[in-house]
Assembly symmetry: C2
Homo-oligomer: 208 residues x 2
């Protein structure tokens, strides 16, 4: 009865799978339960995904694409709002922190990249490679922003810019762990603000 298009059902499965994987881990994801939650038979699930690994691949791909789109969208909004690269970056971080803070009950659902890195032996080399590419792409996009800042004013101390770019993701991934364990969205947004404060110290001449 294909009144419902394939894409819709696929996305519904991915939504439910993502929620479950972030809460219980990939190995504990039950395909029967997942199918039931998506109002499908077990075979209905296997019509869309050949097996669990293909599901994992699709989840990660969608997660990375969506995350990248949201990030780039926020970047373009901030660059429209102010001219100075440092102001743009600081504003971006404030927006990210505010976004995280508005997340209610239970805080951030979790980062699939971080979660899947703790399941990596479950996946094949393709999935791991996609994960690596996703991380390197994000580092590159953040580094673009930092590079623009550095071009205008040198940092207060010497620092590797790749590492500095990675540090944002580190604060976020670490902040997610705190937020989950302490069951509050505050530690996550606070970690973004710690990073923001670090960049201000590094680049803001008014503080020297």
């Amino acid at each position: 009865m294909p009144q419902q298009v394939s894409e819709e059902t696929r996305d519904r499965i991915l939504d439910l799978a993502e929620e479950s994987v972030l809460a219980r881990g990939f190995g504990s994801l039950s395909i029967s339960e997942l199918a039931q939650a998506a109002a499908l038979s077990k075979n209905g699930f296997f019509y869309h995904f050949s097996d669990k690994t293909e599901l994992a691949r699709a989840m990660l791909q969608r997660y990375v694409q969506e995350g990248h789109a949201i990030f780039m969208d926020t970047v373009s909004r901030t660059s429209a709002m102010c001219d100075d690269p440092l102001d743009q970056l600081l504003l971006l971080l404030r927006l990210i922190a505010e976004h995280f803070e508005t997340l209610q009950d239970g805080g951030h659902p979790g980062c699939l990249v971080a979660a899947s890195c703790y399941h990596d032996r479950l996946f094949d080399a393709k999935v791991r490679a996609a994960n690596r590419d996703a991380i390197l792409l994000r580092r590159a996009r953040i580094k673009d922003l930092i590079d623009k800042v550095v071009a205008m004013r040198p940092p207060a101390v010497e620092v590797d810019l790749d590492d500095l770019a990675d540090a944002l993701c580190a604060h976020i991934d670490g902040g997610i762990v705190f937020s989950r364990v302490l069951n509050s969205s505050k530690p996550l947004s606070d970690q973004v603000l710690v990073y923001r404060s670090h960049l201000k110290l590094l680049f803001d001449p008014a503080l020297r």
Copy 2:
């Protein structure tokens, strides 16, 4: 045939379980395989742990205790090596970074606290509470060190000291993700050094 004491076998099981959980996640941990790897029958495993949840509890408990002991040991070594609190803290971070850098092939095995926070719905409230207490304890120990620094010299900008203490764990947890995904120990030690550089900027008067 009790020529081997219970503790030894238990620790052997926990070692193997930890390795497997960090590589594949808790849900994918097979008790049959685990028992076989530990040269035990399946019933031999259940002699030591009543079920998977008790295994998880024991793993986390041991991980947290050992981690705390190593951390406190390193702290006492650094406090014997220099007098100034800032020097002690900066030295501690350098030692931690160096320790991480020496880890070969595949880098850091992973943080069980971070891994288990992505499996938390699998565990009971007791395990989650223990996890929370472990994180708060570690935050408190790091904050002790930062407090001593602040007592001697104020930070360059206002910053929440709890958040600053959390940031170290965030850099480490995030660094572990990078190290695992990029298959190198460097990103992890670099993240510790980024944190170190941040603290120097905040507290070192020579940089102002």
